[in-house]
C-alpha cells in the first residue's frame, strides 16, 4: 500500500471497501467496528448501517 502511495487517511475506507467487494458481510462489519473511530466517513457508514438494522447499536455508537 505504501508503494502505491495511498494516503494513510484513506486506509480505513479502503479496508472497508475491500471487505464490501469481497461480499463477506461479517468481515465488513468487523472492519467497520474496528476502524470507525479513525475515520468520520467510516463512522457515518456504520451509523447508517445500524440506523437501518439495529437502532440500539446506533444509539450506543452515537
Amino acid at each position: 500500500m505504501n508503494k502505491a502511495a495511498i494516503d494513510q487517511k484513506f486506509l480505513p475506507e479502503l479496508s472497508l471497501l475491500l471487505n464490501k467487494l469481497s461480499g463477506n458481510h461479517e468481515n465488513w462489519l468487523q472492519t467497520a467496528l474496528q476502524l470507525y473511530q479513525n475515520s468520520d466517513t467510516l463512522a457515518r457508514v456504520l451509523l447508517l448501517f445500524y440506523n437501518k438494522n439495529d437502532q440500539k447499536r446506533f444509539i450506543a455508537i452515537t
Binding site: D40, A43, Q55, F58, T62
Partner: protein, 178 residues
C-alpha cells in the same frame, strides 16, 4: 462520538434521531443545531422536551444574539419579553426585526417606540445607511392596526424634516413609506 464533536455530528444525526429513540440525545443534537445555525425550526423541534434548566441555559446562551432570542420568544408567545429586550437596547441595528412580532400585539407601544427611535436617531445621526434603517422602521408603522392617523403624521413629519434631508426622502421612497 457525538459528545466529543457535537458540532460536526449534529447535522448528520438530525435526520435519524427522534425523541422516541433517545430523548436526551435528540435534545442535545437539536440544541447544538440551534446554537450553530440560529434556526427557529430546530428550536421548535425540541422545545416540548426541554426542562426548566435546559430552557434557561438555552435562553442564556443567546443573551448576545437578541434577534434570535426574539424569535424564540415569539415562538413561545412571550411578547412581553421581546418588549423587555427592545427596552434594554439602545442599538438601532435590527430594531425592525425585533419589533416586527409586536406590531399586532402592542400597536401603541410599537408606534411610540418607532416614533421615539426615529426622532432620536434623526437628532443624533446622519448618513444614508441610517436613513435606510429609519425607512425600515417607518414602513412597519403602516401595519399597526388602528393607528393610521398617527402614522401619517409621523411619516409626514419625518419626510419633511428640517433641515431638508434628500437622502432620507430617497430612502423613504425606496422603502415605499411614501
Amino acid at each position: 462520538m457525538f459528545t466529543a464533536h457535537a458540532s460536526s455530528w449534529a447535522k448528520f444525526l438530525a435526520p435519524f434521531i427522534t425523541p422516541e429513540l433517545d430523548k436526551d440525545l435528540f435534545v442535545k443534537v437539536f440544541m447544538t443545531l440551534v446554537s450553530n445555525e440560529l434556526k427557529i425550526e430546530h428550536y421548535l423541534k425540541i422545545r416540548a422536551y426541554l426542562d426548566v434548566a435546559e430552557y434557561a441555559n438555552l435562553i442564556n446562551s443567546f443573551k448576545h444574539a437578541a434577534e434570535f432570542l426574539a424569535k424564540i420568544y415569539e415562538a413561545d408567545k412571550h411578547f412581553d419579553k421581546i418588549k423587555n429586550l427592545i427596552d434594554s437596547r439602545s442599538n438601532i441595528w435590527n430594531f425592525d426585526e425585533l419589533i416586527k412580532p409586536l406590531l399586532n400585539v402592542y400597536p401603541h407601544y410599537c408606534f411610540r417606540k418607532i416614533a421615539a427611535m426615529t426622532y432620536k436617531t434623526l437628532n443624533t445621526e446622519r448618513g444614508r445607511s441610517i436613513y435606510e434603517q429609519i425607512a425600515k422602521w417607518l414602513v412597519l408603522t403602516k401595519q399597526l392596526p388602528g393607528m393610521q392617523q398617527d402614522v401619517m403624521i409621523l411619516i409626514g413629519k419625518t419626510y419633511n424634516h428640517k433641515p431638508n434631508l434628500p437622502a432620507l426622502k430617497d430612502e423613504m421612497c425606496k422603502a415605499m413609506v411614501v
